[in-house]
Assembly symmetry: C2
Homo-oligomer: 221 residues x 2
């Protein structure tokens, strides 16, 4: 019934990679890279997860999660994101520090702990990176965001999340004062390189590369 720390991590990785591929088969190498391990180790594990009915796996054909595997992955993701909210809002960690610690906390086993934590945090629907928090049953809240680069001059919206989580990007956002909930207005779009000038909360004006703007998720007003 219970899955190990390691098994949970593999399921989470397959979940994320498969989501990027819109549910398609994930390759052994892709999993190996994300798990920071070797392809041979992944093969072993996929065989094991397959026996436990957590993944669909045919050798040489890549892997996807079964319904059961998805449920397990979403439970881990729920815990990860709730702990991130806790670390940011209650312990005042910074945006870029929370991920690594949540990687450990997400494996603590106690249904009751998760539900009480959720309540303590006020049933948040999104984590500090703007990612949706699955509910107890694994359902994700509906999200209808646009990437910042799709907005036109003059349009406004709230920053609801980021689709790139590397610490240096997050640090950069924090430095220029962009946090979840910030209001963003497009001042100018540069046709040449698609970079944009934006106003944050009606005050500061800032310049963002196309690369950066693609990774900001906006709820248009």
């Amino acid at each position: 019934m219970n899955n190990s720390f390691t098994e949970e991590n593999y399921l989470k990785i397959i979940y994320h990679l498969s989501a990027d591929l819109k549910g398609g088969e994930v390759s052994t190498n892709a999993v190996a890279e994300m798990a920071q391990t070797k392809a041979a180790s992944v093969s072993d594990m996929l065989k094991k997860l397959s026996e436990k009915k957590l993944v669909n796996y045919q050798k040489y054909q890549g892997v996807t999660l079964t319904i059961l595997g998805q449920t397990v992955a979403l439970k881990v993701i729920r815990k990860h994101r709730l702990w991130e909210v806790f670390l940011l809002e209650k312990l005042h960690f910074t945006w870029d520090e929370v991920h690594i610690i949540a990687e450990e906390l997400e494996h603590i086993n106690s249904e009751k702990l998760v539900e009480k934590l959720d309540e303590f945090l006020g049933f948040p629907r999104f984590d500090p990176h703007g990612d949706p928090i699955p509910d107890q049953t694994g359902k994700l809240p509906a999200t209808e965001y646009q990437n910042l680069n799709t907005l036109k001059v003059g349009q406004m919206g709230l920053l609801m999340g980021v689709s790139e989580h590397n610490p240096s990007f997050l640090k950069y956002l924090a430095k220029i004062g962009l946090t979840i909930g910030s209001q963003i207005q497009i001042i100018e779009v540069n046709e040449f390189d698609h970079s944009v000038s934006i106003k944050i909360n009606g005050e500061i004006e800032h310049f963002l590369s196309f690369e950066a703007s693609k990774n900001l998720l906006i709820m248009v007003n």
Copy 2:
């Protein structure tokens, strides 16, 4: 430099057992019983901990912690007790539920997390069971408590801790309304079986067996 989850548990067990013996050597069997494992496994582990300079161990002669081993054990105990405070005060778990969950949380690795948690909780000096919380350097706050059974009729004090942590005892205390900080006054001592009648917070009168009173730690007013 880092010690495994399992190593940390052995160190904690040796710390607690050795404290009961006022620093004396702990037997292999005692460790095995508390670790819920077999003596052979303990022998293996003691050899390993000894190589890492965490314990003093001569075969057949029992084991004690080195200074280094004590430091590691106290760091784990610090985390355990801080998490217990969090679970009780912030998430409203009951007294008897916190221990099992804290057994997992105590192994989360992040110095910064521990210090921020400590701050968030208001730098508590005692956990929900009344046990002292070591500081960052492993120092324990001074405690000068008496067991309830040593008090005379009429004496009063505050309940500061318990020296017996089994869930049924804790549940019993909760049921009769005894919590950390409760004021207790001795109304009557029965010479025959050393049972006592007490008043809790000046109100309710209650009867406690000698067995129970021995395990209540009181700060006399």
